[in-house]
Symmetry: C2
Subunit: 572 residues, 2 copies
């Protein structure tokens, strides 16, 4: 096997193999190579101009953590049992977002395998894993990853990840993986020692940007694209959720995301199975989704933050931070019937005209959710929607997420209104950094008026976020779980709810009376957000049958529906 | 008249009118206003929280320079005599780039009026003026402008500029204006005192970037767009050349350039005359030129740097700096038949894959030149092509520029091989800045091995660059002038040379023998770059007639053409 590493600025590169140093030979384009018999499980590292040893930027496994040596993985050794696997299309998906560390008491890939039946039973089609690339310490959200090719050792490493994907596929679940290409974590990031992986031409919230358009950037782009292809090919992953693409700076004529999409399309043809790319994007830029022939990047979908913000602020009444841009039922109506609320409108929070209409796109290009790890974890105490809303409003939120034209996503435990929070937790080994994170977070929230917040570094903070699977038995939780199951069942069985063209959607509402009707090809979702019951008169209701209601007491009378306070009914 | 200024962060704004201070009233969106009877010629300035007075960011006239008060201009007062004026289309244009300060001994707009007949006689259809916005001091290229709305006082101010545009139009010449929206000059730039005009999120070679996508950026975008519209509407300019758009950073879903194009299109409809936008772009990104329906920004054309670099390096043999990416005849052939040499190819100079194919575009979307102010002025001694090439090679260069599918542009005096250089000159009034510029330039060129360079601040440096109109009489210059005239005449009279579709173009060449044949719908341009004469055999030559030759001794024999050393012939 030929050991290779890109180190264009080094004058001398050595490989350390099982403790023995061997000089590497320079090759084209800043690469160095060594002919060797590296076998599965061999530890190795690199020395640059005598400094190091450093782990391989493309390390497949870091059994001793981010500062330790890399361990070679022979991907051919794993005995996959998912032959013939084909993922269901995204348009038919119901996604659950999962954080491996807190999803189960074990906090491992293998632990998660034991809970797949719950997901199947719920009606989930796709699991989306928060980042699994090696990050410092044992506990973390995963956005501080530094070894982008190495599944986290504390989760079970490469083999564990393969076992989970294989198990998912055998049970009919597709697997999406969250990947972070806009920055690397601050600890254990040796990439800059190897080459121009970063540039100070742009500023990100996490420091220098990843170098995608300056000298040497071809290799950095390939580094990320090869990473994406590795997950899809060697780990059988069905798609990627690309974190914060607004912090991926690239002014090249061929944008990184379009190049990535081209590479994934080529792999798709080679593997003969469908692969998807989903972006998190704070810019409301539909160019990501438009086909390359129309000047777009051709991604499959993007997270619909506007839908979340409109729904969250409407249900909770919250108006702080970015929620100040949302609130009226009109905003929710706008996103339900055209994806984006901010499609060129002025945003008070951002202090600029924001976004662009999603012209020519349909619902399947957007992921809709009532909550995800971000909105939950970025609150001082990690409160989920279930902590903020009455059960009645929670049911309305769930109904809207699961009957909206968007691809629905539930955050782990959302389906039973999990009482466990999702707080920000870290396990930085670098004491100075740990203190900085702690203080930074305290300062952020102090500015917003919150003084007592959990310590991200404390093992307790992490432990508190672990799902409590037993609580599902409790009537409140069991009721919510049944409600989510019923909604998902409806979504997956009624064809009208698969028709995601915005021109097939009609929304009517009364801001004062606080009701909203969502009509989708003959199916009507009627929401009463008023605490008092009310009668809604609407032509579309004529001859509609009640399919599902969040509370007892819903009455349909000719062109009228009578809804109890804070309730939702689905008719068809 | 309502005096208005945008100063969103000020707590108090005063206007100083003819020495008297009056408080302004806050209005919506960070604007301040004052009801007053401001008439043409009134001097005014603003005080922010007691500091100042500062000139108006939108000052129409700075009669005392960049630090002085602004002077009100009533655009309705000028008596235009160009009614009914319509500019010829860009596809039929022959452009001359002009620097007002050095174009004539007077160095003014009025001075330039006296030389328009020369341009008409030459066959020029469009003049393109280097930036005229007020910059510090009397002498400068104009890229240090700080009062973007004010025609430079040393050139003749607003009235002078109008007289020039009016005179051009009456003589049938269209006027293009170079505008700089990527940065402002370092001296006299008070914009940051008024509002968030700049952002440190991006780095440009000139410091902080103009803020086009952060808080408050709507007003900054409007500031630039209103500026563009002012030139087109109030000064009757026919189009804009937008400087260095690769340094315009904007990740908004609606890119600044697309928004600008939308605004110009709307003005076009309102004025009933055609307006063009041309970009200078270092990224070889055809998105600028694609129509909005295809995800593009819809600009009319962009400068074709690849054509210049391929032609310049081929003719001069130079390979330093960015010329290291060019040299072979194959590169010239590639640009002649598809616009871009770097359309995704790896660039050694940039150390990355650069650009994207100009698919779906034709020649009229690119401006072609043998030289412009930049390539000339950025050499240590401001040498023009005429200083670097034999008359024979100069003639070949001119023939290729003027028969290429691109819109040709000649730099002032190029047509007679002007002996005057075009060096870098400034007139910074700030002594520290002046010294910094001087030292910076010395250091740049010292790094490249050139130690003695002209002092940019010295009046002599500027004077040396003034065109010497008398030298046209000299036989060498007169011959070159006649050659350019003949070529332009040919271009404007032979329909084949207006067919700018790349699929109608055939290029054949022999790298070893150093010849190139450019075939355009039956017209053949045959170039012999070899110092020795040679016979070229080619089917397309059969029955072709000699239309024009750069030297005596060209013979056409059936399918052969015999070309003397370093010569070009045009057949049709």
């Amino acid at each position: 096997m030929n050991l290779r590493v890109w180190a264009p600025n080094a004058r001398r590169v050595e490989a350390e193999l099982a403790g023995i140093r061997k000089p590497m030979q320079p090759a084209n384009g800043g690469w160095w190579q060594l002919q060797t018999t590296l076998s599965h499980g061999t530890d190795y590292a690199f020395l640059l101009d005598g400094e190091g040893p450093f782990p391989d930027p493309r390390s497949p496994w870091q059994p001793q953590g981010v500062h330790g040596p890399s361990r070679h993985v022979d991907h051919r050794r794993f005995a996959w049992k998912d032959s013939g696997w084909r993922a269901p299309p995204l348009a038919a998906a119901v996604i659950q977002e999962i954080h491996i560390g807190t999803f189960t008491p074990e906090g491992t890939f293998d632990g998660a395998i034991g809970r797949l039946d719950h997901l199947i039973d719920l009606g989930i089609t796709h699991v989306e894993l928060m980042p699994v690339a090696e990050f410092p310490g044992d506990r973390g959200w995963g956005y501080d990853g530094v070894d982008l090719y190495a599944p986290h050792r504390a989760y079970g490493g490469p083999e564990g990840f393969k076992r989970l994907v294989d198990a998912c596929h055998r049970k009919g679940l597709a697997v999406l993986l969250d990947v972070v290409y806009n920055h690397l974590g601050p600890d254990g990031n040796y990439l800059a020692r190897f080459g121009p992986y970063f540039t100070d031409a742009y500023t990100t919230p996490w420091g220098d940007a990843v170098n995608l358009d300056r000298a040497g950037s071809d290799q950095v782009r390939d580094f990320l694209i090869d990473n994406a292809l590795m997950w899809l090919r060697d780990y059988h992953v069905d798609g990627l959720r690309i974190d914060a693409v607004h912090a991926i700076f690239d002014r090249s004529a061929l944008h990184f995301l379009e190049e990535l999409q081209q590479a994934v399309t080529a792999l798709e043809a080679q593997l003969g199975r469908h692969l998807v790319l989903i972006a998190e994007n704070d810019l409301n830029d539909p160019r990501l989704l438009h086909p390359p022939g129309a000047g777009g990047y051709g991604l499959d979908a993007m997270w619909n933050e506007d839908f979340h913000h409109a729904l969250h602020s409407l249900l909770t009444g919250e108006r702080h931070g970015y929620y100040q841009d949302f609130g009226p039922i009109a905003d929710l109506a706008r996103t339900l019937s055209g994806a984006l609320v901010y499609d060129g409108r002025y945003s008070r929070y951002r202090q600029l005209r924001h976004g662009r209409p999603a012209t020519g796109l349909s619902g399947r290009s957007f992921i809709g959710f009532l909550q995800n790890h971000d909105q939950t974890g970025n609150r001082p105490h990690g409160e989920r929607s279930a902590h903020l809303l009455s059960e009645e409003l929670l049911r309305i939120g769930a109904a809207l997420v699961l009957t909206a034209p968007f691809v629905p996503l539930l955050f782990q435990g959302e389906e039973w209104g999990a009482s466990t929070p999702f707080q920000y937790f870290t396990d930085h080994q670098d004491a100075e950094l740990a203190q900085k994170v702690q203080e930074g977070r305290r300062k952020d929230f102090a500015a917003a008026g919150t003084t007592s917040i959990p310590d991200p570094q404390a093992p307790d903070t992490f432990a508190r976020c672990r799902l409590n699977w037993q609580e599902q038995e409790h009537p409140r939780h069991a009721g919510l779980l049944a409600w989510h199951k019923a909604l998902i069942h409806l979504r997956r069985t009624i064809p009208a709810l698969s028709n995601d063209r915005f021109d097939n959607i009609k929304v009517s509402f009364d801001e004062g009376a606080r009701w909203l009707l969502l009509e989708r090809s003959g199916v009507i979702i009627a929401c009463n957000l008023n605490q008092a019951g009310q009668r809604i008169h609407h032509r579309g209701l004529k001859s509609a049958q009640l399919l599902l209601a969040s509370r007892n007491g819903v009455v349909v009378e000719d062109e009228d529906i009578i809804l109890p306070g804070e309730s939702v009914a689905i008719l068809g």
